[in-house]
Amino acid sequence: MKHHGVNHPNLLRNYVLIFLIGLFLVLPFFLNPYFLHIMIMTFLFAYLSRSWDLIGGYAGQFFLGPVAMFGIGGYTSTLLYVHFNLYPWIGMVIGGILGMAIGISLCYLSFRFGLTGIYFGLATLTFPEILRIVVLSLEIFGGVNGVLIPLRKSSLLHFQFDGKIPYYYISFFMMLLSIYIMYRIEKSKSGYYYIAIREDEEAAESLGIDTFKYKLIATGIGCFLLSIGGTFHAQYLMFVSPDSSFGIAVTLEIIIRSIVGGVGTLLGPVIGSFILTPLSDISRGILGGYRGVHLMLFGVIIILIILFLPQGVGKWFEKLYDNLRTLFEEKISFLVKKDEFIKYK
């Protein structure tokens, strides 16, 4: 009998949330720079993967070009900073808008010409490759070596800091922001539209949902967020290069986290990043001496996860959480019962 328990279904969720946020807020003071770096990359890829999943998971589009927007964001802010001394924060917004505009145009054309499935996937996979070659070949974009961000001074305005801790907090809040945006979309009416579009686009259309419009909205928001992630990545590493910004490897890194955690779920991409980022960084640290071995391992992990957990690890966590919640409610209801018992006496 459930009604004996605390009548607040989100109580446990809120406890867990507050605990986790508190934990991550104090955590950086106990970490050495190496683990701080791992945490920053974990947050960043959780953010990127969460943003991609809006397009690739919720809207269900086979979007293989997140790295285009990621690179555009990084290059825009960096070039504006280097050549025009424009603060990276402003460059970030400009890069975001540019990435969004390009992403929307690409997807608009693709949807208009009826590209779906693997055809849409190949178009979006090829697009960043074109950008990579253009950036690589033209000296105004820094060519093969990329662009170094000049070291000015450690200040918030210049998006440059001495230690890693400020980057930690920025990336942490970016991750929270992306989750919050997704949460709001999920709870709004359009969240249900996206589920309908993902499950059966034609059926959704016949019910009167403007699938074209909603797919473009998802693309726009996702691309904007991805571009901003690119600026953060550039400022954190203090340089941009064709491969680190537009490389297909980055696309894979982003998408794989979402698949591992669970595509089209609120926390799936975040869980995926919390599993894969430390795993790949630490395995790189241990196996770095043997060139290529850690990527072999990565390949095997991907294959195993797709074969044995095609729904993602997130589903498994969901079950664990549900069990925990049942246990929690039973405990509380037990306390309440005892209370009533005392009252009766």
Partner: protein, 291 residues
Amino acid sequence: MISVTFILQLLINGLLRGSIYALAAIGLTLIFGVMNIVNFAHGTFVMLGLYISYWLYALLGIDPYISLVISVPTLFVIGGLIEKYTIHYSIDAPEINQFLITVGILLFIENMALFIFSPDFRAVRVEYQGAIISIGELIIGIIPLVASAISVALTVGLYLFLKKTDLGRALRAVAANKEGARLMGINLNYIYFIAFGIGSACAGAAGTIISPMYYIFPQVGHLFLLLSFVIVIMGGQGNFIGAFLGGLIIGVVESLCIIFVTGSIKDAIVFSCFILVLFFKPFGLFGKKER
């Protein structure tokens, strides 16, 4: 400066190179047509073909064109086993899962090559390396000519196999209608195994054929992977002749690009053409309306 001879020369170079691209792409289009899976690990099979002929040449002194006898069956078995133990289980999975499983295979094989063979650039240098035939002012290298002839021969052989033999008919039947083919008693598991094996063998053959022309390193497959995609889409899904013509077109376009641009920008042009083809001719240049 740009004379007719020059353009003719570029055309010939493009056609010779394109026929080899076509061989690799035909393997991809066969897998795409029969299994409806886009194999992102296709380029690594080209890489394996290159390494097989390199090591046979370096260790045993076997001519790269004779090593086809070894590389083709080897790649057939490797491809078949990969299909049987991994890809087979994702045939009905969502596209994104299929994409990632083939990417996982790509990462595994490519980095295994990196680990075992080191990232060094290697090359096969045969005695007839510089030999040429000249017709008037035109110059044709012996190696591209032989390579192209072999790949055309293999393509024709594969075409006849698909048209004339029972197994070939079964492959085409599965490509046309999976359920119908199964109702007619065709063993789908076996056909998938064969299709993936033949597809991988085509890539491996292309790799072996080009071994005297290219540098050999673990990431060499990427170029062929992207080019094969372009060609397959241009030709239309599973369209054998389309892929062959697509290969020739891409070879010529790439070759003629030299007139206008230099360096890697030509790849950007090829890819831009690809996106335009996707927009305007999503079923391929020679494709029919239905998929």
